[in-house]
Amino acid sequence: MNRTLSFSILTALIVFLIGPFLIIVAASLSAGDTLAFPPQGLSLRWIVKVFTVESFRDSFIMSMILAVGGTFVALLLGVPAAYALSRYKLPFGEAVSTVVTLPIIVPGIIVGLALLRYLVVPFSFSIGVALFLAHTALVLPYTVRVVSSSFNNLRSDMEEAAVLLGATRLGAFFMVVLPNIRAGILAAFILGFVTSFNQVPVSLFLSGPGVRTLPIDMLSYMETTYDPSVAALSALLALMSIGIIFLAERFLGFSRYV
């Protein structure tokens, strides 16, 4: 391929990937009253306004609880599952790892609808609990995948060495295995957090009065109010994600795990 062509493809890719983000950032810095590009004048008033909208604050907290809590529970389930899948030849091991990754493949809308129809409606699960379960299930595949690769890179004879030095199997896991997959677990946590935080389709079905995640709240805000505060919030969230990934890459070499 000649240089000019590859250069133009690269440029097109960057414009495609980064362009919308730049437009959002520009729109959020607008001094005008409506969401528009190019921005009308420059000001920080919409950025400031984001922090004063009460529903944004509530739904941000909700999203944080789901993302942090759901990912944490997914890790509690996913780490032992990944350990078992990589260490033992389990009957139906292949099937289990496929089932565990299903939520990635099945469209979120279907997952959301199924949870609503078969969990919330018949068993009168509270929406909050259903939302938490849904986010945990959605994040689980990522934790299993990422942590599995850490386990696969870790030789099992280290645990045996610990046992022969007097450790119990469980002790060996905590003293020898966990410290050596710390980076993998952190990577899984970040990936899970971002996945959950950005989740829309499932959350759409499982929202109710007073129970809303931030992306859903932003959608409904836009239905009634067409000011640049949504752009400002988007820009802030994108910056938060970039910050997290940057730190993760810097300290963990995040891209090795994903």
Binding site: R155, M158, E160, A161, V163, L165, V176
Partner: protein
């Protein structure tokens, strides 16, 4: 179990599903003895070693250590050390903490741990490295850390999995000396597993040759080297020319061949080392197929009616070119009689 046995394996059997990895293994090991399990991969030597360590539960049989039946004692309570082939050091801990690992689990006072670890590292010559991480050490140094980590626990038995096979030639000599020194100073009973006959011969007091889950022969290095009981052992310890015996004659591709000497009828076969084959003399003829120079010696591979024959002669003698026809002899005095063939 004899009175002198310190570690005794009785009818030890291990199977994976329907396949038997080790079949009715019986062995008594004396205190302070250095025993090698020698055999090709898949012979059951590693399986046997792992069951002594408690990492594999035997299907049947009994393991007794220092007068106690340990067959059902869990691995972390046996006080058996194992130096893994991969060393299995803990990468997140320093050399010091690796060696201290077992002592900390014993809840030994900090001052005692400090003293023992320092002494342990000193004895393997790694005092200067105590603050390093394993990844910052060479393979040979890592292995010595693994050795120290096991030895500070004062194990009743020290097991070593292929202790020399990952090392280059110079380090092998060093490690061999190291293991002999450790054994002499501490009197620890040692068992090591190897597929390398030279390693077993040079290090062990006694060698157990294994094949397909069974013991083929137990003996001192001299016995194994000079008097292999079977064609398998003979082949394994460097008898390149092995023949079955039928009706007092050698069984060869060209049919039964009589030697000019009368062969004893009670042997199942005969084996000659390359150095035992006499060249340029005798009733047999062969054509030179390849020549290789090995330093003091020159090795000839001959194409003969008896099948391929390997012979070794002094490199000082003139070279025979490829394709030359040579006469050779298989003298009875250089032959090892075999009790079992195949």
């Amino acid at each position: 179990m004899s009175d002198r046995a310190f570690l005794s394996l009785e009818n030890l059997t291990l199977s994976y599903g329907s396949s038997i990895a080790v079949d009715k293994f019986n062995l008594d090991i004396r205190k302070g003895e250095l025993v090698a399990f020698l055999g090709p991969s898949g012979c059951g030597k590693t399986t046997t070693m792992r069951s002594i360590a408690g990492l594999l539960a035997p299907t049947s049989g009994r393991i007794t250590l220092d007068g106690t039946d340990i067959t059902r004692v869990s691995a972390n309570k046996r006080n058996v050390g194992l130096v893994f082939q991969s060393y299995a050091l803990f990468p997140h801990l320093t050399v010091f903490e690796n060696v201290a690992f077992g002592l900390r689990l014993k809840r030994m006072p900090a001052a005692d741990i400090e003293a023992r670890v320092t002494a342990g590292l000193k004895s393997v010559g790694l005092s200067a490295f105590s603050g390093r991480k394993p990844a910052e050490l060479s393979g040979g140094q890592q292995q010595r850390v693994a050795l120290a980590r096991s030895m500070v626990m004062e194990p009743k038995v020290l097991l070593l999995d292929e202790p020399l096979s990952n090392l280059d030639a110079r380090l092998r000599v060093e490690m061999r000396a190291e293991l002999q020194r450790v054994q002499k100073e501490t009197g620890v009973t040692m068992i090591f597993v190897t597929h390398d006959q030279a390693e077993a011969l040079s290090l062990a007091d006694r060698i157990v040759v294994m094949r397909e889950g069974l013991i083929e022969q137990i003996g001192t290095p001299e016995e194994i080297y000079n008097n292999p009981v079977s064609s398998f052992v003979a082949d394994f310890v460097g008898f390149e020319n092995v023949f079955a015996l039928s009706d007092g004659k050698l069984a060869t591709p060209a049919g039964a061949v009589a030697l000019h000497e009368t062969l004893p009828r009670n042997a199942a076969g005969f084996a000659w080392r390359p150095a035992g084959v006499a060249l340029d003399t005798g009733p047999f003829k062969g054509r030179v197929k390849s020549v290789s120079f090995t330093g003091n010696l020159r090795e000839y591979l001959l194409d003969t009616p008896l099948g391929p024959i390997t012979a070794e002669v002094s490199a000082a003698l003139p070279v025979h070119e490829l394709g030359t026809e040579l006469s050779f002899d298989l003298p009875l005095k250089a032959a090892a009689p075999l009790q079992r063939f195949a």
